[in-house]
């Protein structure tokens, strides 16, 4: 579903990603771990077609980037730490707008389904500016899955959420994962990542330094695996 080979990304003289290789099979939930400044967000922005690779090949859902970016965007949902929502529109109006932008026909049914999934049915007529951070983030997830994407990218979805909001988000993410969609999530929250992901990759100094399937962890926990990967 995602194939990345020898990806290099440079900003001026600074190289952020240095020949990164990364593959994700359909239905996998990959947690992309790594310290601050490792290049996780830059990598996700390239996968989302928001940034162009300097060198290397990137294929998402069978389409090459950056040449077939419109096709990739149609198959992709993105949740970042910013909600990408308009505060002066209601939850429903925000979703209606994005539904039009994704060319969804009969979108009202889909909006009802999504609002139900993220638990915001009762707040559909409320302005997004009145939402808490956790509610905004749940609606942001609703926005990202509205067009039923094959691949969903989550960039630090837990940033700024309190315990209750994080637990609510866990439920939503588990629900999404159960639908068999391919997910790549960056997170510093290893405990949450461990509960959700089926594979863990560590991105450090611009390359994937370690990768392990959940089944192969055995007695080890993700924290040990992460520490070892960084030490190596």
């Amino acid at each position: 579903m995602i194939e990345v080979t020898k990806l290099i990304k440079r900003f001026g003289l600074k190289t952020i990603l240095c020949g990164l290789d990364f593959q994700v099979q359909p239905g996998e939930f990959v947690a992309l771990l790594g310290p601050n400044g490792a290049g996780k967000t830059t990598f996700l922005r390239i996968l989302a077609s928001l940034s162009k690779p300097s060198f290397g090949n990137v294929k998402v859902a069978g389409y090459s980037l950056p040449n077939e970016s419109a096709q990739v965007r149609a198959k992709l949902g993105v949740v970042s730490h910013l909600p990408l929502l308009y505060p002066d529109l209601t939850a429903e109006e925000n979703l209606q707008f994005y539904a039009r932008m994704y060319g969804i026909t009969n979108y009202q049914l889909q909006i009802n389904k999504v609002l139900n999934l993220v638990g915001l049915e009762h707040r559909r007529k409320d302005l997004v500016r009145t939402f808490s951070r956790g509610m905004s983030q749940r609606l942001a997830i609703g926005r990202a899955i509205l067009h039923e994407p094959q691949v969903i990218l989550f960039d630090e979805p837990y940033t700024g959420l309190d315990q209750d909001a994080s637990e609510m988000l866990d439920k939503v993410l588990k629900e999404i994962a159960s639908h068999g969609q391919t997910v790549v999530m960056t997170s510093h929250d290893l405990i949450r990542a461990e509960a959700l992901a089926t594979r863990f990759d560590v991105l450090s100094r611009g390359v994937i330094t370690a990768s392990i399937n959940k089944n192969d962890l055995k007695n080890q926990n993700v924290l040990d695996f992460y520490k070892q990967a960084l030490e190596n």
Partner: protein, 226 residues
Amino acid sequence: MKPSFLKATFAIIHKDLAAEFRSRELLTAMLTFSVLVILIFNFALDLNIDVRQKVTAGVLWTTFAFAGTLGLNRSMAVEKDRGCMDGLLLAPVDRSAIFFGKAISNLAFMLIVEAIVLPLYAFFYNETRIFQWEFIAVLLLGSIGYISVGTLLSAMSVQTRTREILLPILLFPITIPVLIASVLASGAIINDAGLPQIITPLNLLIVYDVIFIAVSFMFFDAIVEE
């Protein structure tokens, strides 16, 4: 699923108008600023009728140009501040649909402000010739040129920390041809200079509009991408 160019453009216009009519932040700022400028010029230029007639077109276009930068800045800042520009760029639509959607929304806001300011201007400056169709045509053409290049430049300046300062610095030098042609055409109408005096700046405005729209259309994609 990919929406048509027109559907995506109208979705953006609809979203911008709905958000603005609810918050009224942008229109209030533009209107307040315009009315204040008109009032200040009214008292500052306490001149005889002849001199007033000569400067009146310049006063009007200066007001609209400065008010326009307020609107352009705010319109793009809304997209940038909560990451909504990324939301637009992630949609499987032609990027030029985003440009036209934003440009048409900005033009609508500018025309609303002009429609409210013109009667006030006519009252303070005792000038009724600004309601002639020729004047309205100049106003429309001048606004189209100004907003098309303004939308492009605001998409660029909004990505910087000094966006409020950068936009006018970039915009005013580039739009000088449009502003000069608009002032010349408006002045000729107000001073009853006759059709030949109006036609030349009007033609210039049309040419500039076509060039500015084409250039903005061509470069918007490159500007919004990292």
